[in-house]
């Protein structure tokens, strides 16, 4: 399942970060395979997704979130 398809309060582990122009950018924010995340909130009108990963809280656009798959 892709992160972009998750509902609020979904809990899961990252399976893979698909190859893209910004995959290493995502990883620098700690979005790496094996990391656990929680979907905290989703902005309306297909807006960004708000997740917590480790001790960090991150907002990410839906387009980028579709490159993150979950177990």
């Amino acid at each position: 399942m892709k992160l972009s398809e998750c509902n609020t309060s979904f809990k899961g582990e990252i399976k893979e970060v698909l190859e893209s122009e910004f995959d290493s950018k995502l990883m620098e924010y700690g979005i790496i395979p094996g990391a656990e995340l929680v979907v905290l909130n989703k902005a309306p009108f297909n807006g960004p997704i708000y997740i917590s990963i480790g001790s960090q809280k991150i907002a990410i656009r839906k387009e980028e979130a579709s490159f993150i798959t979950l177990k």
Binding site: V17, E19, E21, F22, D23, S24, K25, L26, M27, E28, Y29, G30, I32, P33, L40, N41, K42, A43, P44, F45, N46, G47, P48, Y50, S52, G54, S55, Q56, K57, I58, A59, I60, R61, E63, E64
Partner: protein, 679 residues
Amino acid sequence: MKKLHVALIGNPNVGKTTLFNRLCGVNQKTGNYPGVTVDKKVGKFKHLDFQIEVTDLPGFDSIYPKSMDEELVVNYLKNNSGKNHIEKVIFVADGTNIKKNLYLLSQVKDLGYDIVLAINLIDIAKRKGIQIDTRYLSKKFGIHVVEISARKGEGVDELKSALLLRSPETKADDLKYLREENHEILQSFVQENKAQNMYTAFLSITQDNTLPEVNVKKWKSEEAILRYQFVRKVLDKSIRIDKSLATDTTSRIDSILMHPVGGYIIFLGVLLVIFQSVFSLASYPMGWIEIFFSWFHDSAQLILAPGSFTSFITEGLIPGIEGVVIFVPQIVILFFFFAILDESGYMNRIIYLMDRLMQKVGMSGKSVVPLISSFACAVPAIMATRTIENKRERLITILVAPLLTCSARLPVYTILIGLLVPNTMLFGFVSVQALVLLAMYLLGIVTSILAAFIFKYLIKNEYRSFFITEMPRYLLPSIKNVFFTIWENTKAFIWNAGKIIVAASIILYVLGTNGGEKYRNTEQFVQSKYPELSQTELAPKISSYELEHSYLGMMGKSIEPAIIPLGYDWKIGIALISSIAAREVFVGTMSIIYSIDSEEDLSIMQKLEKETNSNTGKPTFNFATCISLLLFYAFSLQCMSTIAVTYKETKSIKWTGIQFLYMTILAYVVSFVAYQILV
């Protein structure tokens, strides 16, 4: 005295600026990096027998830059050579959320820098039950580690001393960022190119593609994974969190402030409070400033001997300075709110909520902050666009920001609306004048949205726009930082806009009181034309003839043919010319023109109402002309400070020119159409 050059670096929002202010106090100056526009802050302080120079670099998140600010820092760090090279780095980290900081720290360390780690916000971290084993960190990274609270000044002296110490040795377990099977590739690359540093060589491969056979993406993502593994291992052993103390207030506040419906209502409420304060609260100190300046003006007239120097002071210089100072209350209030929103962490939630809507018109959630500042002044707004990573989103934000109603337009609008509609109440409580003013604000907002939408289709997007941002935890804003933000921004406004407005007022006064031959022979000419009039009856004729033939009058006359179709005469022409310096100069010019013109002591509004158009003989400020002028001021880019800052920020004559032209043409066409329909 021995010298030491230190750079201050770290992720954004870790309190770097607070520490810089704490270290250097007033011994700092802001300059520019060669060729780029990001401010470079340099400060100095003395410690023991060392003179320490500190360069404060903008905050950055990674060695792979995604915005202009970041690119600058990374290039600066990668090319550290020459006379003034960095000898020591203070790496500032946020004690409440150190993981990401340590990731960046390990990258900077691998570049070969001699680092002292300053763990800031330690007071808050301790309150949250976070305990950091600094000795372990020191051993693992091979650096000195100091715990500080820049806000309270704790640990700053230890930090100063640590700068002078030699760093502890590290075991050479380098290359922790590359999978073992690739070590050989990097090592042979280093030997071939005689690179001095392994990590610089690594970056040359991953950033500049110097080894085509390497899968750069793979190397980069493996670096991230390996580094996080390393950082996590270090953190597991060096950080203890007492869970009983750590409550997750942030998540609870977020569920309210980021609510899909409630969040927007709260944001709208926050906006209303800001605008309400900027306009109603500020009106009190603005009234006092007016009273003060009129007292100042009158006493200067009393004390100084009458003559051209005195009238230069009272009619040129004092109104010029007043024109700047009058905006200070609004700017102070606006930046008070911005500082609080930013410090508290709410600003990032606004960015989150607004991102999707702003994307529809080619901008980013991060454009919201500059656009809100535009309601006070476009200059700080355009400077604030630096945080927008995507070039196109940033450019569009810069281009449309001056369309929003800045406070410099307010005095112009106030006068024109006063002439346009009577001060009556609708339904007994809604002021008609306030409604027209509101309509002008809406006009600015709608036009900027339309303009952004058009630019979205005209400007090609070179890079894919992406958006990923960290949400800081909510913090109670520090009074000191709020005060500092207000101080810095107000100072910048007074200096940037002030020097242009004061200079324009002075030039205007000089141009209005000097002229060619006709001007010098005014008295003879008027006397011979009206021989029957007495001396007192002659005086107004003389001043009006003088103004018409002054250099200023000549300039107004020369553009008159172009502005007659808009419903203006040469006197308004003068005001248009002089408000190219800044819009609010319009009011000053009007009062200068008409006080040069008449001896009676009337308010500027009364003077304008009495004025007749020299071409038509009808009142100059009739309905059609007032509307036409309102629209002209709504759209035209009459602000030298904005033009200057757009050039500074875009480094492009082309875009500076496009911004000036599209706004001027828009202003001219709309005013022309409006006047021709209404007249």
